[in-house]
C-alpha cells in the first residue's frame, strides 16, 4: 500500500528538491556500477562509485522512484563521498531510512538503495 504524500519530511524535502549527485557520470568509465530494484515494483536505483585506493571519491545515482527513494540515494551518495570501502559496506538501508525519517511503509525503498550499494561495491571489488 502506497501512502499519499502530503508533506515530505524536511530531510527528504531538501534532498528531493535539490539533489547534488543525481545523474550518471559521463563518461561512465572508471566507475563501478551497481543497480537494484525494478520499474514494475516502483523503485529502480542505479549507483556509480569511483574508487581511489579503497576510498570512494565520487558517488552518483539515478533513481526511478518517489521522493523518498531519490532523497535516500542522494543521502547515500553524500555519505559515500570520501568514505572507505569498509565504511561503505557498513551502511544499512535502515539507518538511511531513519536518517530521513521515512515512514515504516517507505523503508522498503531504503533497502533497495542498500542493495544497489552492495552491488556497486561488489562490482568495484571484481574490477580490480
Amino acid at each position: 500500500m502506497v501512502e499519499v504524500v502530503t508533506e515530505l519530511p524536511p530531510a527528504v524535502e531538501a534532498r528531493f528538491r535539490k539533489p547534488s549527485r543525481g545523474g550518471r557520470p559521463r563518461p561512465e568509465a572508471g566507475y563501478a556500477h551497481g543497480s537494484a530494484g525494478n520499474v514494475r515494483a516502483g523503485t529502480l536505483v542505479l549507483l556509480w562509485l569511483r574508487l581511489r585506493e579503497r576510498r570512494i571519491d565520487d558517488a552518483r545515482f539515478e533513481v526511478f522512484g518517489g521522493p523518498s527513494a531519490i532523497a535516500c540515494a542522494e543521502a547515500l551518495c553524500e555519505r559515500l563521498t570520501g568514505a572507505t570501502v569498509e565504511q561503505a559496506l557498513a551502511i544499512t538501508g535502515l539507518e538511511l531510512a531513519e536518517g530521513l525519517q521515512l515512514s515504516a511503509a517507505e523503508r522498503g525503498v531504503a533497502l533497495v538503495v542498500e542493495d544497489a550499494l552492495k552491488a556497486a561495491l561488489q562490482a568495484g571489488d571484481s574490477n580490480r
Binding site: V2, E3, V4, V39, F64, G66, P67
Partner: protein, 410 residues
C-alpha cells in the same frame, strides 16, 4: 472576481467552481423570510418552494430534452448511478433476468453497485475496452443475453474524456428490449444530450460538475414506456416515492440555474474548452515523451497524459502549484493505479505517472500556459535523475521499460 489564492486549477472534471450567477439564485432560497419552505407542504411557503423546485426541474430537463416529470432529484450522481443500477436490477431482475452488463472503465459509482448485485446473485459482465479506451460494439452485442436486464455505459469517461457512441450503443441494446442506463455526468454541458435521439432509458446527472452546487444530482427515468426502479431509500412520497426525503430547495434551484446557463452558453463554453485543450496538448507534447491516454476526439474538457520516465509520486510532489488529478481523485487516495488506465493496457507505473488535466468555464490561456511551464520544469528535472528516461532516450521500447501492456502507446 476575487484574486486567486491557490494553485492553477485544472481539475474541473473533479468539481467545478460554482458560477456566481448560480450562487446568487441559491441565496434567495436560504433566506429566512421566504426561502425555507418545505416543497412538500401545502401552505404558501411550501407552494412557493415547490414552484421553484419545479422550475429548476424543468431547466435540468430542458438540457437533455426530457419532460420535467422524468427527472428525480438525488443527492448527487453517485446516488443517481446507484439508483439506476440497483433500482433497475432489483425491480426487473425477477421478471427480465438477473444479468447486467457494464464496462471496466465506468465510474466506481456504477462498478460498485454492480459488484453489490453480483453479491446478490446477479451475473455481471464487465466489458473490456480497446487500447484507446473505446468500446467495441460487437463485443457489447456479443455480451447481451436473454436474461440481461440492464446495460450501463457512461457517455464521457471521467478520467480520459473518451466518449462512447451512445446512439449506436442504444441501437444495439434496444434491439433486444434491454434497458440502457447512461452516466452522463461529464457529458452534460459539453456534448449535446437528447434522451430521445440517443434512445436511453435512464441517465445520471450531477450539478457540481457543471458549475452548480455539490450535494445534488438527478436521474432521468423514461416515462414512455415507463421505467421503474426499486428505491434505495424509504420513508416519504417525495419524487413519486422513488426518492423520498425533503428536496433541498436551494440545491435544486442551483442545479436548475447551472443547467439553464449550460443550455444558453454551452456552445460558447465548448468552443473555448476545445481551444484551451488544444493549447494544453500542444504545450505538453512539445516536452517530448508525453503520451495521450485516450482519444483526440474525446470530450473537450479533459486531457489525460502520461509522462515517460517519471515516477508518479515524484511527479505528484512536483505539482504544488498545479491542482490536477493524478489518476482519478476517486482512486488516488487509495494509492492504486487508475482502473481506467489499467483497463486500457497502460502499464502500472506509467498509469501512476499520468495526469488528468480538466478545463472549465473559468480556465484561461494563462492557466494553461502556467501549467505547461510547471510540468515542463518538473518533468525535465525528474527525468535528469531517471534511468527509465535514459533508456527511453536510448531507444528502448515502452514494453521493455515498463513491462506488460506497454504497447498501448504508439
Amino acid at each position: 472576481m476575487a484574486e486567486r489564492v491557490g494553485p492553477v486549477y485544472l481539475d474541473n472534471a473533479a468539481t467545478t467552481p460554482v458560477d456566481p450567477r448560480v450562487r446568487e439564485r441559491m441565496l434567495e432560497w436560504l433566506d429566512a423570510d421566504s426561502g425555507f419552505g418545505n416543497a412538500a407542504s401545502t401552505h404558501r411557503y411550501g407552494r412557493r418552494a415547490a414552484l421553484a423546485v419545479e422550475e429548476a426541474r424543468a431547466e435540468v430537463a430542458a438540457l437533455i430534452n426530457a419532460a420535467p416529470e422524468e427527472l428525480i432529484w438525488t443527492s448527487g450522481a453517485t446516488e443517481a448511478n446507484n439508483l439506476a443500477v440497483l433500482g433497475v436490477a432489483r425491480f426487473y431482475g425477477p421478471t427480465r433476468g438477473r444479468h447486467v452488463v457494464t464496462v471496466r472503465t465506468e465510474h466506481k459509482s456504477v462498478l460498485a453497485p454492480c459488484a453489490r448485485l453480483a453479491a446478490e446473485g446477479f451475473a455481471v459482465t464487465q466489458l473490456e475496452v480497446e487500447r484507446d479506451g473505446s468500446l467495441d460494439l460487437e463485443r457489447l452485442a456479443a455480451a447481451l443475453r436473454p436474461d440481461t436486464a440492464l446495460v450501463s455505459v457512461m457517455y464521457v469517461n471521467n478520467e480520459t474524456g473518451v466518449t462512447h457512441p451512445i446512439e449506436e450503443i442504444a441501437r444495439v441494446v434496444k434491439a433486444t428490449g434491454i434497458l440502457l442506463h447512461v452516466d452522463a455526468v461529464q457529458a452534460a454541458g459539453r456534448l449535446p444530450i437528447d434522451v430521445d435521439a440517443l434512445g436511453v432509458d435512464l441517465l445520471s446527472l450531477s450539478a457540481h460538475k457543471l458549475y452548480g452546487p455539490k450535494g445534488i444530482g438527478a436521474l432521468y427515468l423514461r416515462r414512455h414506456p415507463r421505467i421503474r426502479v426499486q428505491p434505495l431509500l424509504w420513508g416519504g412520497e417525495q419524487e413519486s416515492g422513488v426518492r423520498p426525503g425533503t428536496v433541498p430547495v436551494h440545491q435544486a434551484v442551483g442545479m436548475g440555474e447551472a443547467y439553464r446557463l449550460a443550455r444558453l452558453e454551452g456552445a460558447q463554453d465548448v468552443a473555448r474548452l476545445r481551444a484551451l485543450r488544444q493549447r494544453l496538448w500542444d504545450g505538453l507534447s512539445a516536452i517530448g515523451g508525453v503520451l495521450r491516454n485516450g482519444r483526440e476526439d474525446g470530450s473537450p474538457h479533459i486531457l489525460n497524459v502520461a509522462f515517460v520516465g517519471v515516477h508518479g509520486q515524484a511527479l505528484a510532489a512536483e505539482l504544488d502549484g498545479l491542482a490536477a488529478s493524478t489518476t482519478s481523485a476517486c482512486s488516488s487516495a487509495s494509492g492504486a493505479a487508475s482502473h481506467v488506465l489499467r483497463a486500457m493496457g497502460v502499464p502500472e507505473q506509467l498509469a501512476h505517472a499520468s495526469l488528468r488535466l480538466s478545463l472549465g468555464r473559468f480556465s484561461t490561456e494563462q492557466d494553461v500556459d502556467l501549467a505547461v511551464q510547471m510540468l515542463k520544469a518538473g518533468v525535465e528535472r525528474l527525468r535528469a535523475l531517471s534511468p527509465v528516461w535514459q533508456g527511453y532516450l536510448a531507444g528502448r521500447s515502452l514494453e521493455e521499460l515498463y513491462g506488460n501492456g506497454a504497447a498501448a502507446h504508439g
